[in-house]
C-alpha cells in the first residue's frame, strides 16, 4: 500500500508531524459537530421552541467550520511537500535519462520513457497527494471518535470496534489479489502506449504492405485487451470497496436497528442514540475514503515505484577529476582486453584485444554489415559501457578510465551517425546544436561547407525555417549534411566519429561531399566506419572487423601486402560491379 522509500524522501517527517496535529484537531471538530447536531435535533424533537436550539446549533456551526478549515490546511501542508517532491523527482528523472544516455531509450522505448517522465510522475503526484492524508485520517480520526462513542454507549461501540478488523482483513485479502492484477494492468498500459507509437511510426511501412487499414483492428484489439485487464482488476479492486461499503453501511443499519430496540425498551435516551447514529458514518468515513481511491493509488504507487527504480539505476560514474586537454598530436587512447555485450550474460558482440589510437590518425573501420563497426563506435563514444572484466584496461592520455562515458571525453568529439536526428527546431538551431552561440555567419559557412547553400537559401524562412518532424521535410541526404554542418561548426572538437555517414548519399553527392569532408580531417583524429572502400585512400590506418573482432589492423599498405582479411575484402569488392 505504501512504498517504503516514501519515508526516506526529504521533508517527509516534518510534513507528517504537522499533518498528525491537524488531523487530531479535526477529529475533535468532527466529534463536536456530531454531538451538537444531535443535541439540536433532540431539542426540536422534544417540541421546544426554535430559539432553544440556536445555542447548540451555534456550537455545531463552529465545529463544522473548523473541520472544513482544517481540511484546507491539511491540503496546504501536504500539497506544499508534494509539489516540492514531485518537482525534484521530475528533474531527477530527466537528469537520470540524460546520464544514462541513449542506451536507456533503446531499452525502454521512446514512448515509454516519455510516458514515465510525464504521465508516470503525474500519477505519482496524485498518489502522494491522496495517500498521506487518507492514511493518516484513517490512523487517527476513527479512534478518537470510537473512544468517545464508548462513553456514549459501549455495546454499539464494541460492535463497531469488532467490525473494523473484519473489514480490514477483507480489504487486505482482496487488496493482494488486486495488486497483482494492477501490476499487470500497468504493464499493459505501457505496452499499449508503446504499441500505438510503434504503429504510427511504422505507418508508411504498413501502408506499403496494404495492412494499414487492417492494423486498425489490431489497435482495437490491443485496446480491448487493455479494457479486459482493467475490468478484471476493477472487479476485484471494486470488490474490496464493495466489501467495505457493504460492511460499513450495513453496520450503520444494524446500529440503527439495535438502538431502536434499546430505545423501545426504554434502556436508552434519544440523544446518545442519535449521537451514535450521526457519528457512526464518520467513524467509517476515513476507511471508506481510503478504499474509494484504492484503485487510483495502486496505479500511482506502481508509477512511483517505476520512477524510483529508474532513479536508483546505477549510472556510470563520470570521472570529474579527469583532466583532458584538447586532443592534439600527442594525445592517445588505448584499449586492451575490452569486451561489450548488449546484456551482461550475452555473448560479447565485440572483443578488442588491443587498439591504440594516437594524435591525428585517420582510422578507417571496415567490415561487413553487422560485424561490429557500430558497436566499436558506440564504445568509443561512451554510449555503451564495456562488460566488466578484470583484464580490461582503457588508457586515455595515460590516465586509466573504466569506460568512455565521460563528459571531458565527449566534449572532444563529433559523432555523425547513419541517420542523424533532426530536432523540431529552426535550421539554424539544428546546425548550431553543438555550438549554440555560433554566429549566423558561421552557421552559413558551415552550411555551405556541407553543401547546403542552395538548400537553405530556398527555404521559405531561410535559417529560421522550422525543420524536423512537423516542419519542413528534410531528406535523408539533407539530414546527413546538416550533421556534417554541425561538425564544420565545431572545429574545436578534434575527434570525429563517423558511422557510415555517406551510406544514404548517392555516388555523385558522396564525391562532392567527400571534397568537403577531407579538409575537415586535417588536425583531427578520425574514426571512419564505412563500406565504401574508396575512403581507404584518405586513411592512414585501417581496422578490419569480422564477427565482433578486430582481425587485422595496420596502414593500408601494410594490409595490402599482408594478403589477409583486408586483401580478401578488397578483392571481393573489386570483383563486383562493372559492365559485363
Amino acid at each position: 500500500m505504501i512504498d517504503r522509500r516514501l519515508f526516506t524522501m526529504p521533508g517527509i517527517r516534518k510534513t507528517l508531524g504537522m499533518l498528525a496535529v491537524l488531523i487530531t484537531l479535526q477529529a475533535f471538530s468532527v466529534l463536536f459537530q456530531g454531538k451538537y447536531l444531535s443535541m439540536s435535533i433532540v431539542t426540536l424533537w422534544q417540541q421546544k421552541p426554535f430559539v432553544a436550539v440556536l445555542q447548540t446549533f451555534g456550537f455545531f456551526l463552529v465545529a463544522f467550520v473548523c473541520r472544513h478549515l482544517l481540511t484546507v490546511l491539511k491540503n496546504y501542508v501536504v500539497g506544499h511537500w508534494v509539489e516540492k517532491t514531485v518537482t525534484t523527482l521530475r528533474h531527477d528523472v530527466l537528469k537520470q535519462v540524460g546520464a544514462l544516455g541513449p542506451k536507456i531509450i533503446q531499452e525502454k522505448g521512446t514512448g515509454n520513457t516519455v510516458t514515465l517522465a510525464l504521465e508516470g510522475i503525474d500519477k505519482a503526484q496524485t498518489y502522494l497527494m491522496l495517500v498521506l492524508i487518507k492514511m493518516f485520517d484513517m490512523m487517527i480520526i476513527p479512534w478518537i471518535l470510537l473512544a468517545y462513542l464508548f462513553t456514549v454507549s459501549w455495546p454499539e461501540a464494541t460492535f463497531m470496534l469488532a467490525i473494523y478488523p473484519v473489514v480490514i482483513i477483507f480489504m487486505i485479502i482482496l487488496g493482494y489479489a488486486a495488486q497483482a492484477k494492477a501490476d499487470k494492468e500497468y504493464a499493459n498500459f505501457i505496452r499499449l502506449s508503446n504499441h500505438f507509437v510503434d504503429a504510427l511510426r511504422g505507418l508508411p511501412t504498413l501502408k506499403q504492405l496494404g495492412l494499414s487499414r487492417r492494423y486498425a483492428t489490431n489497435i482495437h484489439r490491443v485496446s480491448e485487451d487493455y479494457r479486459k485487464s482493467v475490468l478484471s482488476t476493477l472487479k476485484i479492486a471494486i470488490l474490496s470497496t464493495f466489501t467495505l461499503d457493504f460492511f460499513t453501511t450495513l453496520s450503520i443499519a444494524i446500529v440503527a436497528v439495535f438502538l431502536g430496540f434499546s430505545l423501545i425498551d426504554g434502556t436508552k435516551a434519544l440523544l446518545p442514540a442519535l449521537t451514535m447514529l450521526v457519528l457512526a458514518p464518520e467513524y467509517f468515513l476515513p476507511l471508506r475514503n481510503f478504499a474509494n481511491d484504492y484503485h487510483d493509488t495502486l496505479d500511482g504507487k506502481n508509477a512511483l515505484g517505476d520512477v524510483l527504480d529508474l532513479l536508483s539505476r546505477p549510472t556510470l560514474i563520470d570521472n570529474q577529476q579527469l583532466k583532458l586537454e584538447q586532443w592534439n598530436t600527442e594525445s592517445h587512447l588505448t584499449l586492451d582486453n575490452v569486451t561489450i555485450a548488449y546484456n551482461d550474460n550475452d555473448e560479447p558482440t565485440l572483443t578488442i584485444e588491443h587498439l591504440a589510437l594516437q594524435g591525428y590518425q585517420k582510422v578507417g573501420i571496415i567490415g561487413r554489415s553487422g560485424s561490429g563497426k557500430s558497436t566499436l563506435l558506440n564504445l568509443l563514444g561512451g554510449f555503451l559501457a564495456p562488460t566488466n572484466n578484470e583484464k580490461q584496461k582503457i588508457m586515455l592520455n595515460k590516465q586509466p578510465v573504466e569506460h568512455l562515458q565521460l563528459q571531458a571525453w565527449q566534449k572532444q568529439f563529433q559523432y555523425i551517425p547513419q541517420t542523424p536526428y533532426i530536432f523540431h527546431a529552426t535550421l539554424a538551431e539544428n546546425v548550431a546544436f553543438y555550438a549554440p552561440d555560433a554566429s549566423e555567419e558561421a552557421i552559413i559557412l558551415a552550411l555551405e561547407a556541407a553543401g547546403l547553400a542552395t538548400f537553405w537559401q530556398n527555404l521559405p524562412n531561410g535559417l529560421a525555417t522550422l525543420i524536423g518532424e512537423g516542419g519542413q521535410a528534410v531528406s535523408g541526404g539533407q539530414a546527413q549534411r546538416i550533421a556534417l554542418a554541425r561538425a564544420f561548426l565545431t572545429p574545436e572538437r578534434r575527434v570525429l566519429l563517423f558511422d557510415e555517414p555517406t551510406a544514404h548519399l548517392d555516388i555523385e553527392t558522396e564525391m562532392n561531399i567527400k571534397k568537403a569532408i577531407i579538409p575537415l580531417f586535417e588536425n583531427h583524429l578520425v574514426l571512419f566506419a564505412t563500406h565504401r572502400l574508396h575512403w581507404v585512400k584518405q586513411m592512414d590506418y585501417v581496422l578490419v572487423i569480422e564477427d565482433g573482432k578486430i582481425v587485422e589492423q595496420g596502414t593500408p599498405d601494410e594490409l595490402a601486402s599482408r594478403g589477409g582479411a583486408f586483401v580478401r575484402l578488397v578483392a571481393d569488392v573489386n570483383q563486383l560491379g562493372g559492365v559485363k
Binding site: 533503446q106 505507418l203 508508411p204 423501545i264 442514540a273 512537423g470 541526404g477 585512400k537
Partner: protein, 585 residues
C-alpha cells in the same frame, strides 16, 4: 461558455457515442442515482426509526417497516454502487477502444505525409492523454453531473411536496451548490485548466523531441540544458496546477459553508413543518440526517464541471484530426485479375510541384514500363526519384499528366494498390514484435516455414537461429537491436512473402556493405525474376541487373539507355561507374 457549446455542436468524438449508446447510458445513470438514493434513504429512515423508537411505541410492529427499509437500503447502496462502477468503466473503456481505432484510421489516411503534419510526440500525447481525458469526461463529468442534478430535482420536489415555500428555498440553496458554484468554478478556473492542458501537450511534444535526439544532447554536453528546457515548461505547469488545487480546496470550503446553511434551514423546516405533532417530530431527524449523504453526490458536480475546459482542449485537438480527411479518388470498375495481368505502365507528360513551392519537382516526364522489365532510376538526392515513386503509388497526385496501366488511370485503381505493388524503401519499419510476426506482415497467410524460407533467402537464417529466442526474438523499438543492414534484409524478407507483380525498390541497399549489397541484389533479382521492377538507386552497384537506366536530375531525364550502351558511349556514366566500383587499384 459559448465556445464550449459551439464545440459540443461540432464535435465528432463524444456526442455521437452518447447518442449511439443511449440505453446503456441511461442504465449507468439509473444505477448511479440509486446508489445515492439508497445512501440518503438509509440515513432518512434511520433517523426516523430512532426518533420513533424513542417514543416507546407499544408494539415493535409499529417500527417494523422502517427496520426492514433500513436493512434494504443498507444492502442496496453498496450493491448498486458496485454494479454502477463496473458498468460505467466497462462502457467507457469500450468507447475508448473505438476512439483509439478512429484516431488511428484518421491518421492512417494520411500515412505518407503525416510525419510532416503531426509530430510523433503530438500523436503520442493525443493517445496517452487526450483519449484518457475523454475517459474522464464520462466518468468524472458527465455521469456525476447528470446524477447529481437528478438527485437535486427529486429532493427539492420531495421537500416541496410538504411545503412549497421550503421547497423553493431548497431549490435556491441546493441550486447554489449544484449550479451557481460550479459555473463560477468553470469561469474562474476554466482558463487556467485550459492553459494547463496546453502546457501538458507542449511538454509532451518537447520531451519526445528531446528524447529522440538524446544522443546529440549527450555528446554536445548539453544534458543540463536538456533538463532545463523541459523544466521551464514543467515549472509553469506546476504553478498553474498549484493555483488550480488551491482554488478547489477553497471552493469546497465555501460549498461546505452553504451546507451548514442548508442544515440550519432544514432544522427550521423540521420545526415549522413537523415540530408541533407528537408523531411528526420524528421527521426532523430524518430530514436533517439525509442532507449529508446527498452533499457527497453534489460535490461531484462542481469537480466534474470544473474539468470541462480541460476536456475542451483535448476535444478540440481530436476534432482537428477530422479536418485532415482526404477524399478518396473514384474507383474504376476493372477486374482484379486483368489489372494484375497488365502489359505496360505509361507515364504521360507527368509534372509535379508541391502546392507551397514554385519549383517543379518533376517536369514533363514520359516513360514506358513494360511488364517484367527492370528499370533503374538514378540521380542525386532531391532530384525527384522518391516523388516519382510516391506519384506512382498514388500517395501524391500529379499536377498535370497521367499514369496509365493498360489505359486505366492509375488513380482509379487504388483498391488494387497493394496487390500491384510491393515496396522496399530506404527505412522500412520493424515493429516491436517477434521476428516471425514482423516478416509475416508481408503475407499474413504465410506459414512458419514460408517465413523461415524468406529469412533464409535474404541470408539471415544463421543470425536469427543464433539468437536465444530464435524466430521469436522480439525486435526492440524500430528494430534497434539489429544493424541497419540486417533491418533492411528483414524488410526484404517481408517483400519476398508479399507476392506482387510490380516491385518498387527505393534505394533498398543504402546501408549495406558492397559485398552484402551485391549478394542481396543478386537474391532480389533472382527471386523476383518474373516481376516488373522499378529500382531507385543512388549508386551503380549491380547496375547490370537493369534493362534500362534513367538518370533524373532537376526533374528531367538527363541520360537513358541500357547500361551497356551507356558505358560504351556516355563518358559521364563511365566515370561514375568507375568511381563506384574501382576505387581501390
Amino acid at each position: 461558455m459559448q465556445t464550449i457549446i459551439k464545440m459540443f455542436n461540432t464535435d465528432k468524438w463524444v456526442l455521437p457515442y452518447l447518442r449511439r449508446y443511449k440505453k446503456l447510458l441511461a442504465l449507468v445513470i439509473f444505477l448511479g442515482f440509486m446508489t445515492v438514493f439508497c445512501g440518503t434513504a438509509l440515513m432518512f429512515v434511520s433517523g426516523y426509526l430512532i426518533s420513533r423508537s424513542a417514543q416507546h411505541p407499544s408494539n415493535i410492529l409499529l417500527v417494523y417497516v422502517p427496520i426492514v427499509l433500513t436493512r434494504a437500503f443498507g444492502i442496496g447502496r453498496p450493491v448498486f454502487r458496485y454494479v454502477e462502477r463496473l458498468t460505467s468503466h466497462n462502457w467507457v473503456l469500450r468507447l475508448v477502444s473505438d476512439l483509439r481505432k478512429k484516431l488511428y484510421l484518421q491518421v492512417e489516411q494520411r500515412a505518407t505525409t503525416i510525419r510532416q503534419e503531426k509530430q510523433t510526440g503530438d500523436v503520442l500525447a493525443l493517445l496517452a492523454d487526450d483519449i484518457q481525458h475523454i475517459e474522464n469526461l464520462y466518468l468524472k463529468t458527465i455521469f456525476p453531473v447528470v446524477i447529481g442534478w437528478l438527485l437535486y430535482l427529486s429532493f427539492t420536489i420531495f421537500v416541496g411536496y410538504f411545503n412549497w415555500a421550503f421547497g423553493l428555498l431548497m431549490v435556491l440553496l441546493f441550486g447554489v451548490i449544484t449550479i451557481l458554484l460550479p459555473l463560477i468554478s468553470v469561469a474562474l478556473n476554466g482558463a487556467r485548466s485550459f492553459k494547463n492542458r496546453q502546457l501538458q501537450h507542449e511538454v509532451y511534444v518537447s520531451l519526445t523531441d528531446g528524447v529522440l535526439g538524446l544522443t546529440d544532447w549527450v555528446i554536445a554536453g548539453r544534458q543540463a540544458e536538456f533538463v532545463e528546457k523541459q523544466t521551464v515548461l514543467m515549472q509553469q505547469q506546476v504553478k498553474i496546477q498549484r493555483q488550480d488545487m488551491q482554488f478547489t480546496w477553497w471552493r469546497d470550503f465555501i460549498l461546505n459553508l452553504i451546507v451548514a446553511g442548508i442544515t440550519f434551514v432544514m432544522l427550521y423546516f423540521g420545526k415549522v413543518q413537523f415540530g408541533d405533532s407528537f408523531f411528526n417530530v420524528n421527521y426532523i431527524a430524518a430530514f436533517t440526517l439525509a442532507i449529508f449523504p446527498m452533499i457527497d453526490a453534489f460535490q461531484g458536480i462542481s469537480a466534474g464541471l470544473t474539468e470541462i475546459p480541460t476536456h475542451q482542449a483535448s476535444l478540440e485537438r481530436m476534432n482537428s484530426y477530422d479536418d485532415l480527411t482526404v477524399t478518396a479518388p473514384q474507383t474504376a470498375t476493372v477486374d482484379q485479375a486483368k489489372v494484375l495481368d497488365f502489359k505496360e505502365i505509361i507515364f504521360e507528360d507527368v509534372t509535379f510541384h508541391y502546392p507551397n513551392q514554385e519549383q517543379s519537382v518533376l517536369s514533363h516526364i514520359n516513360l514506358k514500363i513494360d511488364r517484367k522489365g527492370t528499370y533503374a532510376l538514378l540521380g542525386p538526392s532531391g532530384a525527384g526519384k522518391s516523388t516519382m515513386l510516391q506519384l506512382l503509388l498514388g500517395d501524391l497526385q500529379p499536377t498535370s499528366g497521367h499514369f496509365k496501366i493498360d489505359g486505366y488511370d492509375l488513380e482509379t485503381l487504388q483498391e488494387y494498390r497493394h496487390d500491384l505493388f510491393g515496396v522496399l524503401d530506404q527505412q522500412p519499419y520493424l515493429f516491436n514484435t517477434s521476428i516471425m510476426n514482423n516478416v509475416r506482415l508481408g503475407n499474413l497467410t504465410a506459414t512458419d516455414d514460408d517465413v523461415k524460407a524468406a529469412i533464409a533467402a535474404v541470408g539471415l537464417r544463421e543470425l536469427v537461429e543464433k539468437l536465444p529466442d530464435g524466430y521469436n526474438t522480439v525486435m526492440t523499438e524500430g528494430g534497434q537491436r539489429f544493424s541497419g543492414g540486417e533491418r533492411q534484409r528483414f524488410a526484404l524478407a517481408r517483400i519476398l512473402l508479399q507476392d506482387a507483380p510490380i516491385i518498387i525498390l527505393d534505394e533498398p541497399t543504402v546501408s549495406l556493405d558492397p559485398i552484402t549489397e551485391n549478394e542481396v541484389l543478386t537474391t532480389i533479382f533472382k527471386l523476383l525474376a518474373d516481376k516488373t521492377i522499378i529500382w531507385v538507386t543512388h549508386h551503380l552497384t549491380g547496375i547490370n541487373f537493369a534493362n534500362q537506366v534513367y538518370f533524373l536530375d532537376n526533374g528531367n531525364f538527363t541520360m537513358s539507355g541500357s547500361p551497356q550502351a551507356l558505358y560504351a558511349h556516355n563518358q559521364h556514366f563511365k566515370q561514375l561507374l568507375d568511381l563506384d566500383t574501382g576505387m581501390i587499384n
